[in-house]
């Protein structure tokens, strides 16, 4: 299967967007080679602004650009936006509902060797709690590109979570990205794995493994954490009666929490959250870390067996 990092797709999408819309501007904070905004810079140098190692100033500047009619896309690592610049995101961008897009790369532990200081395990929890913000966590390159295009159409702030490592391409080019609408990646009636981002591919592998045991698993891809497709989640709860969530993020405050909140209110069934336990990450190869923190397909399969037994 072809593998492409979502940050690569983000860089390409920005160029396409730049061609279509002269109001699109791109900001970075000395990481343009890593976030891939460098692609946009090469094509539209006059619409690219490097703010240096100053993430708070980058988001504040974007707020001003948006207030003056531009559509700024800001990028740095997810630990630094929303991490370093959370208050600017909250007060200067989200509260006034300004049209700023944040492409946050290197999210999660698949950052690898750089270690805990560079591995955001809590960014979804942070941005999910901010009113007015739309939150996308694309699963592959196709979804990323379409999420970027959709973000430009939305009038208001959007957060797009991107990864460093190459991940399998799951969708064909004809895939339709509808913000706020979950995608059923695989049908099944015994349990549902509700996954986001890079974990969608692991969820599909887990469903495949379980099908060999006669367990039929629905895989729901939540590319939009906010607004959440509660309908699809409630249906999954009602129709399967056992739910496992999967995210490359802390089990606190992210997708797992969002799903548990929804299921508890509308249709209580067992929900097991697979994610990073309540700890910081560490240095290691991305694959080793996914293994150590229990984020591989076999961990998901084990969680499904447990959910079904209950």
């Amino acid at each position: 299967m072809q593998k492409i990092a979502t940050r690569e797709a983000y860089g390409d999408a920005l160029v396409e967007l730049g061609r279509e819309n002269p109001d699109v501007v791109v900001l970075d904070a000395d990481l343009s080679k890593s976030t891939k905004t460098i692609n946009f810079r090469k094509h539209f140098p006059e619409r690219f602004f490097n703010l240096g190692i100053a993430e708070q100033n980058m988001l504040g500047t974007a707020a001003g650009l948006a207030a003056a009619g531009k559509i700024p896309f800001c990028s740095t690592f997810a630990v630094f936006a929303p991490g370093r610049s959370f208050d600017q995101l909250r007060n200067s961008i989200a509260y006034p509902k300004l049209n700023v897009k944040i492409g946050a790369s290197h999210a999660g532990i698949t950052v690898g060797e750089d270690g805990a200081t560079h591995q955001s395990v809590e960014d979804i929890a942070l941005v999910r709690a901010v009113p007015n913000l739309t939150v996308f966590v694309p699963a592959d390159a196709v979804e990323t590109k379409k999420a970027v295009m959709a973000a430009a159409e939305i009038k208001g702030p959007v957060y797009i979570r991107l990864g460093r490592a190459a991940v399998p391409v799951l969708h064909g080019e004809d895939f339709v990205f509808e913000p706020g609408k979950a995608v059923v990646m695989r049908e099944g009636g015994d349990a549902a794995i509700i996954a986001t981002g890079v974990m969608v591919a692991e969820a599909l592998a887990a469903a495949e493994e379980l099908s060999r045991e006669g367990i039929s698993v629905r895989v729901l891809n939540i590319h939009t954490i906010k607004p959440l497709d509660t309908e699809a989640i409630i249906s999954a709860a009602k129709e399967t009666g056992a739910i496992v969530t999967a995210e490359e993020h802390s089990v606190i405050g992210g997708l797992g929490s969002a799903v548990a909140e929804t299921v508890c209110e509308h249709c209580p069934v067992p929900v097991y959250r697979v994610g990073i336990p309540d700890v910081f990450g560490e240095s290691g190869k991305p694959g080793e870390l996914m293994e150590k923190y229990g984020l591989k397909a076999r961990h998901l399969a084990a969680a499904v067996r447990k959910a079904i037994r209950r």
């Binding site: 000395d30 100053a54 060797e113 270690g115 805990a116 560079h118 560490e282 240095s283 150590k292």
Partner: protein, 275 residues
């Protein structure tokens, strides 16, 4: 300072540079450029200037060194190991799963690391806190902080600069690793922090400008800084990113790229070191 001691320190810096190459090559990732640029400063500190005891890393009266530009972790680790804080063999575990030598320094895992850094711009504030504690406790230790010249684009650095002068923290000495490069290019092209020395002066600091690869000048500057009363001191050290390895010198792409085996071999040959 006698020439013999300086020659000894220069040789130590050479060994530290060789460690940086070996470590990043073994890890397959990491930051050689900014580690090499500050190698002479950190060597002078750990092997001559700092009041430290590797046998007693928690000694309350020790001087503190804070690597604010935490990505230069290989440099800090090499200095700590050579100074006896932990076994030199451990250096080759850099960035590996389970290692105490995390990609960026972790004060809770490795003796000798004073502050966990890696998110740029935060080290000077922590240094100020330690300096304030020294004053409260009547202790005479000094706090040394190493900043990158791209790093000082962070607003927090200037908040800390203001605070250090405000509280007359004359027990704080900062170095600026003035190598002229960050990740996206030369600092003056990305986001110019110039005029650097004037800015620190305007913030109320005592400022010296030196050659950051001249061990004699580094030591002299710290001796001068120690005599300053009522003000924090900034030593702007002109350096060359990648210093000591010809093909890495002044090359922006060696910021965060590890040498491949054959490149490491070439680098080690230049550093007169066996693989």
């Amino acid at each position: 300072m006698e020439a013999e001691k300086i020659a000894w320190l220069e040789d130590k810096a050479r060994q530290i540079r060789a460690h940086i190459i070996k470590m990043t090559a073994a890890a397959g990732s990491g930051h050689p450029g900014g580690s090499l640029s500050a190698a002479d400063i950190v060597t002078a500190l750990y092997f001559h200037l700092l009041r430290i005891d590797p046998q007693n890393p928690a000694w309350p009266d020790r001087d503190r060194f804070i690597l604010s530009k935490g990505h230069a972790a290989p440099l800090l680790y090499a200095a700590l190991a050579e100074r006896g804080f932990f076994p030199v063999e451990e250096l080759l575990t850099l960035r590996k799963l389970g290692s105490r030598l995390q990609g960026h320094p972790d004060m809770k895992s490795l003796p000798g690391v004073e502050v966990s850094t890696g998110s740029l711009g935060q080290g000077l504030s922590a240094g100020n806190g330690m300096a304030l504690a020294a004053k409260l406790d009547g202790r005479d230790y000094r706090v040394f902080v190493l900043l990158g010249d791209g790093e000082i684009q962070e607003g927090m650095v200037w908040e800390a600069a203001m605070a250090a002068a405000h509280y007359r923290l004359d027990n704080v000495t900062a170095f600026l690793d003035y190598n002229g490069l960050q990740i996206d290019g030369p600092i003056t092209e990305v986001m110019s922090p110039e005029p650097v020395a004037d800015k620190w002066r305007a913030f109320g600091w005592d400022v010296q400008e030196i050659d950051g690869h001249d061990i004699g000048q580094i030591i002299k500057a710290v001796e001068v800084a120690r005599q300053v009363k009522g003000k924090p001191q900034m030593i702007v050290a002109k350096t060359c990113k990648g210093k000591g390895v010809s093909f890495m010198e002044n090359q922006v792409d060696w910021h965060g790229t590890a040498p491949k085996p054959e490149q490491a071999e070439k680098a080690l040959a230049e550093l007169r070191c066996e693989r």
